[in-house]
């Protein structure tokens, strides 16, 4: 090691020991920022790695179409042979069973349970031959023997299933019993946003279940393409071919990937967001500390300059300390990040596949930490440039860092301000408060750190919670393309769809526990797109009553159509534009006017709404209803589901929670994390600030003590200043979170390609705009109380400059 470096390090060490409190606080803030940044980077890398690993092994389809009922196999053959981009394709037979009909039992303990709590479809399948494999924990393609079943890993987690448990499936011919042999991961249905999950059984058991009856047979037609870019072209071709089966959902590779990445990527995005805000706070604090240090040590700097040390050496001396702090923060934060990211990605690793450890596993978090380190050092260098401006005489004689000119200007400013004060004519305001206010005014440049940090901390803790409550709120369905209601009946994918629809609708309309029954049909239209006519899913019904919120424009009237954000973007249309549609190939084209744009996250975000009578022949129906005061939506939903097994009737609240359950739980974690760190940082920064501020105000406090102010009064002045600045900061932060924060989060969400272009928060005002700011203020005040309690020192003369002789 060079002699100079050794000197720098020794200086850094001595200084770190000397100012323990301040340095520990700075280190903690830097470490938390680095920790969150590294964790965010690692979670992102691990999640994407897991998803990619599963995709590589399981080979999910690039396009799939679900279907219920009979189909023309020859038409599928013909379609595949005419499309050269299709590399391989398959038809997967599945049998769906309701969760209520599947129970489990643990022979060793006699424990039992069923899957009724799960609202998603339970589909029994056999292993595919060419692609779309279900994989076990080791990443191999399991082939269950007769009497064995592989259960989705999600159910292993949710219901605590174990290998060796018995599964009993209720069929029309009695119970079919299978033994759980293991657990499988599913590339296309792994996400908790998926509406179905697959169980793997042997060919023999599958045939037995199919012939026993009681389940819903269903197929998925799946395609692997030579180029994933051709997916939408294939989808259009498929949907425009009348001979092909398509009364179920169509899903593309992009949608599978997006849904998978979205649910887990959100945690990473939230972590990076929190880390970003903390970084700003850390940088502001560092700047404050360095400037203060330069002021405190100006005489030493003057001496160093006087003996001829160049700026670079003096700067290096100070920089060494902050480099050590930042480096330690990054290293320890990074190590903690490894532990945290392992905890956070545990479920991803189970649901998908263990992410392979590659160069990126190390490069990504290290790069994130290097960025943190470099930003901190760049900021330190910037502030330390002030050393260059220090004039030897000014430093040694007057002890200030400013040049003659700057000092003169400052003196004038102070004098001007002092001339304006007038204690003699002031009203009866408390002298302590008056002095505190005067102080704040005079030292606004120093104290501004507190409101800025508190505003940032308020934004930090409010935004994730606002997002959480927004996603949790029943009104959020209006972002999901559904009107606000208590009950939602979803009818699709059954042979006797129209009959069931008629029965359910008439029963609901006659039910005096239900009001405002609204019936909508989903029809497939076509509209000209980039590559010819493309299919367009249109919801038809009566929109005169309340419906979804429109971003712009209004609900559709006669001759009008409302488009989802994704469709409006896809076709480049906005309210007032004309759009050509046709019912099917060969039909006459009609022209409709776009009445408005709304947000929708269902069906991949690509939907439309048109007024019209609900007739038969739709691909699906949705009925919304409100319940009367004394009717319980959950009980009604159960009753209707029991009577009409092919209709999915669920309370709206549950619909939102089931669809967004994983997302909201991710936000919950992010929100808790943000509150803990936000409040912690508020306390830390207040303490750090006061520690330095009180040291610098010692002389003034010594004078006030000599004049006759007690320690209690001095403390009350400081606490009053802290209270004012923290309240101001927290309020500004709350206002910013509600205004700018909302637009900012809205912009991020709209970029996520979910079909939400504008997000209006549905906050819990008492919590975020009252309780949270109060928590922050309480944290700041606690710091102030702790720090000012030291003012009760017995020897106050030491506060006055010049040690007692």
């Amino acid at each position: 090691m060079l002699k100079k470096d050794a000197l720098y390090l020794r200086y850094a060490y001595n200084d770190l020991i000397k100012n323990k409190g301040v340095n520990v606080a700075l280190f903690l803030i830097l470490m938390i920022s680095a920790f969150l940044m590294a964790t965010g980077a690692m979670v992102m890398e691990r999640s994407l790695g897991s998803v990619d690993a599963l995709f590589r092994q399981a080979l999910p389809p690039h396009f799939l179409q679900m279907h219920k009922g009979g189909y023309d196999a020859d038409a599928l053959d013909k379609f595949a042979s005419e499309r050269p981009e299709i590399e391989s394709w398959l038809i997967e037979d599945m049998i769906g069973f309701d969760g209520v009909g599947i129970s489990w039992r643990r022979p060793s303990t006699g424990e039992t349970g069923d899957f009724s709590a799960s609202l998603i479809d339970n589909l029994f399948v056999t292993e595919n031959q060419d692609f779309d494999f279900l994989l076990d924990g080791a990443g191999t393609i399991p082939q269950p023997a007769t009497g064995e079943v592989y259960v989705p890993v999600g159910y292993q987690r949710d219901f605590g299933l174990q290998t060796g448990d018995d599964l009993r499936i209720r069929t029309d011919a009695g119970s079919q019993e299978l033994t759980v042999r293991g657990f499988v991961r599913d590339s296309q249905m792994a996400s908790s946003l998926s509406s179905a999950t697959r169980f793997l059984v042997s060919e023999k058991d599958f045939r037995a279940m199919a012939s026993a009856g009681g389940g819903d047979p269903e197929i998925i037609v799946e395609y692997r393409l030579s180029d994933t870019a051709l997916t939408s072209q294939l989808q259009t071709a498929y949907e425009s071919d009348d001979a092909l089966p398509k009364n179920g959902q169509a899903v593309t590779y992009q949608m599978i990937r997006m849904i998978n990445a979205f649910s887990d990527g959100l945690v990473a995005v939230a972590l990076v967001f929190v880390s970003g805000l903390l970084m700003v706070i850390a940088l502001l604090s560092l700047r404050f500390v360095i400037r203060g240090t330069l002021e405190d040590e100006v005489r030493e700097i003057g001496v160093m300059k006087a003996i001829g040390l160049p700026h670079r050496s003096i700067t290096g001396l100070y920089l060494s300390k902050y480099s050590v702090l930042a480096l330690l923060g990054c290293i320890i934060g990074g190590v903690l990040g490894v532990i945290a990211s392992q905890l956070l990605t545990r479920s991803v690793q189970v649901n998908y596949a263990p992410a392979p450890v590659g160069p990126m596993t190390f490069v990504v978090p290290v790069a994130a930490l290097v960025v943190v380190y470099l930003i901190v050092i760049a900021m330190c260098r910037g502030v330390l440039r002030g050393v260059r401006r220090v004039e030897v005489v000014g430093a040694l004689v007057h002890g200030n860092t400013s040049t003659e000119k700057q000092s003169a200007r400052r003196a004038k400013r102070w004098a001007r301000r002092a001339r304006r004060t007038d204690l003699a004519s002031a009203g009866g305001a408390d002298m302590n408060r008056r002095l505190a206010l005067l102080d704040l005014r005079a030292e606004v440049g120093q104290w501004v750190l507190i409101p800025v940090v508190f505003a940032l901390a308020a934004i930090l803790i409010i935004l994730p919670t606002n997002l959480l409550t927004t996603f949790h709120n029943p009104r959020f369905v209006t972002y999901m393309g559904a009107p606000q209601s208590d009950l939602r009946a979803d009818l699709q994918f059954s042979d006797d769809l129209d009959t069931v629809h008629r029965q359910v609708l008439s029963r609901m309309e006659a039910d005096d526990r239900l009001t405002a029954v609204r019936d909508f049909a989903n029809l497939l239209y076509e509209t000209p797109g980039e590559e010819g006519w493309e299919s367009l899913r249109v919801e038809v019904g009566d929109y005169s009553a309340g419906t979804v919120e429109f971003l712009n424009g209004h609900k559709p009237g006669t001759g009008e159509i409302a488009l989802s954000v994704m469709n409006a973007n896809k076709y480049g249309l906005s309210a007032g534009d004309e759009m050509s549609i046709r019912r099917r190939s060969g039909d006459s084209t009609e022209s409709v006017v776009v009445s408005g744009i709304y947000q929708d996250v269902t069906s991949g975000g690509y939907t439309a709404k048109m007024p019209g009578a609900v007739t038969t022949g739709a691909v699906g129906y949705v009925i919304y209803a409100d319940t009367t005061n004394d009717a319980e939506p959950a009980a009604l939903a159960r009753e209707y589901s029991d009577n009409y097994p092919s209709a999915a009737v669920i309370p709206m609240r549950e619909y939102v929670q089931q669809t967004l359950g994983y997302v909201t739980s991710a936000f919950l974690r992010a929100a808790i994390l943000a509150v803990v760190f936000g409040v912690g940082v508020a306390l830390l920064i207040t303490s750090l600030f006061l520690k330095l501020r009180l040291t610098r105000e010692r002389t003034k406090m010594g004078v006030l003590t000599a004049i006759g102010f007690s320690s209690r009064e001095l403390a009350s002045q400081v606490r009053f200043k802290v209270l004012l600045t923290t309240v101001a900061g927290a309020l500004v932060g709350a206002v910013l979170a509600a205004t700018v924060g909302e637009s900012l989060v809205g912009a991020v969400i709209s970029q996520a390609g979910l079909g939400i272009a504008s997000l209006d928060f549905i906050p819990n005002p008492w919590l975020v705009y009252l309780a949270y700011p109060l928590m922050l203020i309480a944290a700041g005040y606690t710091g102030a109380v702790a720090l000012t309690s030291r003012l009760r020192a017995p020897d106050k003369s030491a506060w006055l400059k010049g040690s007692p002789g």
Binding site: L423, V703, G708, F709, R712, K796, A798, K801, G802, G805
Partner: protein
């Protein structure tokens, strides 16, 4: 005064303004602990101008801050007009400093965000918030007396060192204290400004105010009625100078210097 009340008098000399008995001060923050005052017994009579001298590190400023209650003595007792200051809590002691003590320091410590007049007014207003007009009248009279009325609206960076120190004296007198403590009041001033300040202090003393002043400067010390000399925290000697007059100034200073030399100053 009744027994049992905080600060009840047990002073040996009831006519003394200030008295300390067996005062010691030890700083335990050093290793080994440093004993700065070692059993000081001292009485300051009402209206007396007492000067504390000694070499650097002898404990003179420490003595001043311990008898004024700025610092807490390690042991021993301090009485102000018969009241035991060592038994007072922080708030009570602050009240004593506010109403019965005034301070002048080597540096003119002022609040930079207040003008000269407000700085002087601050203790007076705090001491008697309901007698505002009286306080203002008294402060204006003090500023007039010490020749700084023309800078009363000025900021603290706009006046000379001498003016600032005269403002310090005004502030120290604003609450009409029983004792004025001065710690090297001319230490940072040139000779003409020093003379200005010492004239002001002599004037205050002539008005009957008790003064305890720490100084290095024999010329300043010659203004006092009595000089005590400290060495290593102990009171070594004391010398009565009698009442100061301008025409005897040189003689007093010479005599004092001779005495100080004897003591090894």
């Amino acid at each position: 005064m009744a027994e049992g009340i905080t600060g009840v008098s047990t002073s040996s000399s009831t006519c003394a303004t200030l008295e300390c008995q067996d005062l010691t001060k030890t700083y335990y923050s050093t290793d080994p602990p440093t004993q700065v005052l070692n059993g000081i017994d001292l009485t300051v009579e009402a209206g007396e101008f007492l000067v504390v001298m000694g070499a650097s590190g002898s404990g003179k400023s420490t003595l001043l801050y311990n008898i004024s209650g700025m610092d807490r003595a390690t042991s021993g007792r301090v009485f102000l007009q018969g009241r035991d200051l060592t038994s007072l809590n922080d708030t009570e002691m602050s009240q004593v400093r506010l109403t019965q003590m005034g301070f002048i320091f080597q540096q003119s410590y002022f609040l930079g965000n207040l003008n000269i007049r407000d700085n002087i007014l601050l203790p007076a207003l705090k001491a008697a918030p309901h007698r505002r007009d009286a306080a203002i009248g008294r402060v204006d009279a003090l500023m007039e007396r010490f020749g700084i009325v023309n800078v009363k609206r000025h900021g603290t960076t706009e006046v000379s060192g001498g003016q600032l120190q005269r403002a310090s004296i005004s502030r120290a007198l604003a609450s009409e204290p029983a004792v004025l403590f001065a710690d090297e009041p001319t230490g940072a001033l040139n000779s003409s400004m020093s003379a200005e300040v010492m004239d002001a202090l002599t004037d205050v003393h002539a008005g009957g105010t008790t003064i305890v002043m720490v100084t290095h400067d024999p010329a300043c010390a010659a203004r006092g009625d009595r000089v005590i000399y400290l060495r290593d925290g102990q009171l070594i000697d004391s010398r009565e100078l009698g009442t100061w007059t301008a025409d005897q100034a040189a003689e007093r200073e010479d005599a004092l210097l001779a005495w100080l030399r004897e003591l090894g100053f």
